[in-house]
Symmetry: C3
Subunit: 334 residues, 3 copies
């Protein structure tokens, strides 16, 4: 049913990462903690986890797109989901198979200036060049009194910072971006992951009805990874599902004061993630996700979250809804 | 003093909802909890509250506006405030008295695809048609470990999703929107409620000096319901009052880490609410609320929060301030 | 190295405030609390702290700028950082040395209508006029049950509300703004402070490569004060450092659900603050801060956070990075 491989790069990335050991290693129960370790200014201080090595290929794709992939010829937009646990290190060998200057720049993790991914720090790949970037992570550690300097855990992202301008504007515009997750040990793992990037007036560099259709079975734990890019403001809205506006999207209990939302600003450089149980309390069906800026949703920033029956079969009405979605120009009412 | 009935729809809505039993039923001390109930995929699982039935009339109004109302000829912009407690169900019979296709789509609550309010799911009222929409709500329930999937409690909203485009762009632009509150049992109730909708370059589809003047007496507990719509970015600012950027706007205690703010992004599809004690610590007077985007406030996105003396009399200087506000074009300094 | 006095007004402000007793008094261990004090509607109720008097001079500066300063001829853009503790009062004597109507309007604190700083309340300085504004603050106090009405603590700001339009659009555009911090007793104090104001397409009314270069030594506790102004949406991003999206930027412990971020919306009228340990876990170097809206960073909304070695010497590569930054037009890749 899902004929949008660009939007379903998570399948590839999950499988590939399992193969290369990223997820598997990340799941190992390393429990060493840096909490309370005094700061000594050394970049190497906090690493108590595992170092995972992954090779990423930056490639030119059809239609003027550029993508990151875990094997030659396998680049996707967005790129693969990269996952680690706090304390782990990602050592990324970026192979630039293109004729453009480009790089990979992460949010949320620790890196030295030579892994900054920015021309400012001469940290990029020239055309054809291979370069290694090292991203470290850590757990929270005591600042003073009862307060802690935050660890790396979060729903982050990575992107080019060198193509076209010193801020990677051309590379980001053309698809050089992806999700990066740093988990705390004990975090609940999802059964499926969807990456949604609002990039100017497109979703994952596509417009309706060609936007990704994300699929899950009723009750599956689905992780949404939302990333903003480009030069336009957006709000991400998901029908019939909601989440807490905090680190996990879930509540820590009745005293957790977090806002619960189903619509959130998704502006350039920002990212968030959350988990929902597909169709939980609302049933299966074709649920919309879209930018809630009216001219943007009308202009094509909308897609379908297809919640199938628990056994994977199509629920009543869903085929018709998908047909309507694919037939509409999304500029006029019917 | 308040000659802006559009902006004071809460008076109507509160009275009407009391009459129809929505608020009264909502206030009943139902304490059944679904916390810890395992997920079974059934849309009917979580309902431990009361079902309230309300009829809403979508009507064309003077000046090209459209509104929702609780009785024929009583439509307002924004529409009535709808309130329930977690666990309750709202069964809304929407009567479309207009010649346009339209619907009612809620944020934050649970609904099946046939109550989605979207053309995608063939969930709308044709001209002259009456249709029932069912919105359910629930309490948080245990996900795993110590984490909970969030309940429905929040300051939400509802709006058309079918007029003009498949996203209801024309209906929203013309006034088909309102506030929806889902409370947790035990939440503090306000004495007054104000709904403020930033909709493109207008507040409640009005511009200064014709924007709503909200009134309260010194010390009254006032609930602000802020909703964003349209295609423009905004920030909501209230003079001389502040709130916590969390579910209630109040702090759970000294360990509650929430930001305290008096200015917040209010972009399309987002909503938030908070309670203040009118004039608390600052005294009575004519306090401004406005969009803090400078060209927007200059262009008419500003209004007055009139805090009267505790006995309801006018405080010194307030008449003069209102006079200044009503006389100004808001494009030049005096 | 830092040749951008506009961007380093904190040095002046800290020293000056120490001299005038603002910081010194604020640091006195006043522990009186208003928690639980019943509300009585009196503006004077909550003041348990100290009253600090400061004279601020609003001046015209070269290049069409206007600034606030703590002594004649000392105005800066942004103005001085003003700091108090919850419970304290700031009594500001504003001397208008210019030929324009202007005022000073604070966010987050308590003030009567005559200190509102708005033309609406006839609260401004005519050209040449001196006027006193009183800003009060308070601790949280019990609302009902376990909930508290929030206190004044926060990373706030102040700005003109009277030049050009009734919302001070001209004054804000020309530089009449600054940071205001209200701390809770026990909050961790920083070693350095940087004020970053995203004002339309400029940072502190400057564009790259003329934007402020902020400097610290490795491991120093640095407080960032981010303020949004003007009519454009922005996102603030800092390379290689992150913070919790809550009141302090730090976590209260493992149960604190706050998002940890390194990119945040910074829209007109909003402000936030956080502390980082300079270069902590990433090492020294020239780190970028910039608006993450691609056209804005390309257009000049970027600057350098120079983290020197712990002994204050220049780290390898930093000089080269600064040279690259100063030589670039920031509209093309190299």
């Amino acid at each position: 049913m899902d004929d949008h491989p660009v939007g379903t790069s998570r399948h590839l990335s999950r499988r590939s990462l399992m193969t290369t050991g990223v997820l598997a290693a990340g799941a190992v129960g390393v429990t060493a903690s840096t909490v309370g370790v005094p700061f000594n200014g050394s970049p190497a201080q906090a690493v108590a986890g595992i170092t995972k090595k992954v090779t990423i290929y930056a490639e030119q794709m059809p239609g003027g797109l550029f993508g990151y992939g875990l094997a030659p010829g396998q680049a996707t937009v967005p790129g693969p989901v990269l996952e680690i646990y706090e304390g782990d290190t990602l050592e990324i060998t970026l192979v630039n198979t293109t004729t453009q200057r480009l790089s990979i720049h992460p949010h949320g993790v620790d890196y030295s200036t030579d892994s900054d991914g920015s021309p400012l720090n001469a940290s990029f790949n020239n055309p054809g060049e291979t370069r290694t970037y090292v991203w470290r992570s850590r757990e929270m550690f005591l600042a003073s009194g009862r307060r802690f300097m935050p660890g790396s855990a979060g729903y982050w992202h990575y992107h080019d910072h060198a193509m076209g301008t010193d801020h990677g504007t051309a590379g980001v515009a053309k698809g050089l971006y992806g999700a990066l997750i740093v988990r705390r040990r004990g975090d609940i793992l999802p059964e499926k992951q969807f990456t949604v990037v609002f990039n100017d007036m497109m979703i994952n560099n596509r417009m309706a009805p060609d936007t990704p259709m994300f699929e899950a079975n009723l009750g599956q734990r689905v992780e949404w990874l939302a990333i903003g890019h480009g030069g336009t403001f957006h709000t991400f809205h998901l029908h019939a599902h909601r989440w807490a506006d905090n680190r996990t999207g879930m509540l820590e209990g009745p005293a957790d004061p977090s806002l619960v939302i189903d619509n959130k600003d998704l502006n350039p450089g920002s990212s968030f993630g959350f988990q929902v149980l597909a169709g939980e309390g609302v049933g299966p069906g074709a649920w919309m996700y879209h930018c809630h800026v009216q001219s943007h949703s009308d202009g094509g920033m909308a897609g379908i979250f297809l919640v199938r029956n628990a056994d994977g079969s199509m629920p009543p009405g869903a085929e018709e809804a998908i047909h309507r979605f694919q037939g509409h120009t999304h500029t006029h009412g019917s």
